[in-house]
């Protein structure tokens, strides 16, 4: 079936399978591999995208359900060479190691900062508690985002 939706600021129209997830659509159908598949159960946040102003696990969203929606993926956050402040902060603060969780963290953190430009440390921890990182122990990610929050 055909769905029409806004993806990273552009109107798109695409055929989707009846059982296809948004994650599969993005990765395999629309050449946007930035959203990562690590658990397919909504437990790790590696596939986080923003859909209609909500951060969601795209592995749990039916592709057919994005009809009419506004979706932002990690690929939609930087503007050419100009990184999103969250992206720059994670690079500067040592928030990236293997990087597999990073796109999900970038999207979830950008979403947090959009609603709250100066989150407290506990607000950062709680807002990102749905994103698993196996490399950093979260320390580098926390310091990166505390720095961005001006703390």
């Amino acid at each position: 079936m055909e769905v029409r939706f806004r993806l990273n600021g552009e109107e798109r129209s695409v055929d989707v399978g009846p059982a296809q997830s948004l994650l599969s659509l993005l990765r395999d159908g629309m050449d946007l591999p930035g959203s990562k598949n690590a658990c397919e159960q909504g437990e790790c946040g590696s596939c986080t995208v923003v859909m209609d102003r909500q951060a969601v696990c795209s592995c749990l969203v039916l592709a057919a359900d994005v009809d009419g929606a506004d979706v932002t993926t990690v690929e939609g956050l930087s503007n050419g060479e100009q990184l999103h402040p969250v992206q720059q902060a994670l690079i500067d603060g040592g928030g990236v190691q293997c990087g597999f969780c990073t796109p999900g963290f970038v999207v979830a953190a950008a979403h947090l900062f959009e609603g709250n430009p100066a989150p407290a440390t506990d607000e950062i921890r709680e807002a990102l508690s749905g994103n698993i990182c196996r490399c950093t122990g979260y320390g580098g990610i926390l310091r990166s985002l505390e720095e961005l929050a001006g703390r």
Binding site: S78, G94, G99, C135
Partner: protein, 739 residues
Amino acid sequence: MTTTTDTQVRGGIGESVKRPDGIPKVTGNFAYASDLTAEGMLWGATLRSPFAHARLVRIDTAASLAIPGVHAVLTQDDVPGRKTFGQIVADQPVLVDGEARFWGEPVAVVAADDPETARIAVATIEVEWEELDPLVDMETALEQDEVFRYAPVRRGDQQASGSVVVEEYYEVGTQDQAPLGTEAGLAIPDGEGGIDLWVTSQWTHEDHDQIWRSLDLAPDQIRQHPTGIGGAFGAREDMSLHLHLCLLALRTGRPVKMVYNREESFPGHVHRHPARLWYRHEAESDGKLVRVEAKMILDGGAYTDTTPAVVANAVYFAVGPYNVDSVTVDGYGVRTNNPPTGAMRGFGVVQACYAAESQMDRLAAELGMDPLELRKRNAMTTGDAMPTTGQIIETSLPTVEVIDEVAAIPLPPPLDSDDPLHLPGGTGLTTTPQYVTRGIGYAVSIKNIAFSEAFDDFAEARVVLTPSGVEVHTAAVEVGQGMVTVLQQIARTALGIEQVAVVPADTSVIGSAGSTSASRQTQMTGGAVLEASRALRAVALERGGGDELNSEGVWRDGALAMSLEELCADGPLSEHTRFRHPPTVEPDENGQGDLHADFAVAAHRAVVDVDTELGLVRVVQVDTAQDVGMVLNPQSARGQIEGGILQGVGLAVMEELIVDQGIIRNASFTDYLLPTFLDAPDVEMVLLEEPSPWGPFGAKGIGEPPTISSTPAVAAAIRNATGLALNRVPIRPQDITGT
């Protein structure tokens, strides 16, 4: 090893240089194995054994092969060369050979037009099984002499005895590395009967050496390429889908991609060995250790994998960094039908350290002595003999210093908040502060760096000077730890040239860099890059007739004598090295000898809050002092140490494969619990810089120590809070409540 020839340059050693892969990783453009595609690509999928032990009575692939869009369905009969693989002993069939020996063992593989068709094809293969009794108890396996390796230690007077004795039994559960990226790869036929393979791996040359044998090809017909890896932690030290991809690509003549989902990733790689350990410590009343005896069994699963080396590590580091003259250890790696086990960060030392450090606390309690005082009274340093192997320690070994430094880090303030985020149980609102008890615990560890026991351990690197800067060619695999950054820094400092690019090299263009494991790449490939860079500098200076090299060229008496372009007028200048660490030997029949190349110590202190009614634990803070030789990149070192500590915390309180009759019952991220942002303790650290005799600029590997003594420190803290014995990790709620 710093010499006067090393130059000050921006981005050299000692700076928190940013990762070269940072931008692609934050923008989603970094290509992991699971992101690769090729024109005309097929998708692979795997049929797995539903039993931990069963006879394959019949397999019929005809119906599966007849499905439109299915291009190949392969079984063990289709393996053209060596039917088995394995890096120490080739005892694992490429596909089930008539008998499945663990749950999830690959039985057949298919290639189809798309992933859905591939999955349907797998489900359509007709299989008849005869279920067999699985061997799932490691002590039974030992009784039946199902032993991959027995490693003994007999050192000193075997009759020695002390006046104070503590004797206990310990268990360690099965931990999963749970790298965020699952096993994935892409095999592309080269049109001439060979294959180019991109696959999640920690050691491309070792894989390559197994792959060509099973495919019955010449070695140069297979090229294994480094690719983006979403974490490893040991899980990729042994092969997974490598051969399956190649078999399917060769059969179909088309590129084949395969990506494990999380459920199949759990049985699809080796885990940390579950272990049972019996310990007896004897000391004099002043705390001096007199004798340590240990017996340990590690469950090696169905195939050898790296079990022999893991057992050796557990045995040789059974005592910890303490001087004892009388030691007896018997270590066994046994064969069962439990999930595969092999390398995971800490590699055998984790299990031994948990038990041995628990013993040290018990001994201190028995002696009425401060646990840190007991450790310091027995602490090894440079010049002492390893209590197990007798090897004299030649490297720096600041054991007392790491203990003192970690103890000097300020403790966190007492629990003063009723914010549920700061309480055990979190937003589950399970408790209030009055029911929470705080505990503090310490542990100390020693770990070998690089490969041991006479293994021919080397790393190759080629450093190339071009008019636009320097290229470092290496087959060493970056798995996320930051090696690419450190290699750049080493080359910059050695050459005085800022423009350095690390170029990942496939198996056909350079020799092995060895495995990205054993905390070895900074010292080994880093050592190779340093050696090659210094040789390259000497060549450049000679050619340019000068005394200094930098980003512009060779200088003489303060004036530019020859530009990089002129230096490279006849082509790039290139130096290649094969770097080896000091040789090690095989153990004698008593486990004695200079078995190890280098050592590092670490100490951890954990602070926990425990809800003793529900058995819930919040790990508040884990501090560490670590012997790092020399810090090459402070930010990167901190990241490695924090990440390693959290994996140790995970083993202490939550991470365990639940295995029932060989079957993993929690093969998902819903059921296998990983520490989240809210589970992560604060970490304060002190990095002790006493140089290694042979690490580049004195650096030691830093990846594993954080994961080793953090687990027993957390266990000690929970014991301190509860007064319970807690002889098993992970410590579950029921272990605390007794219900």
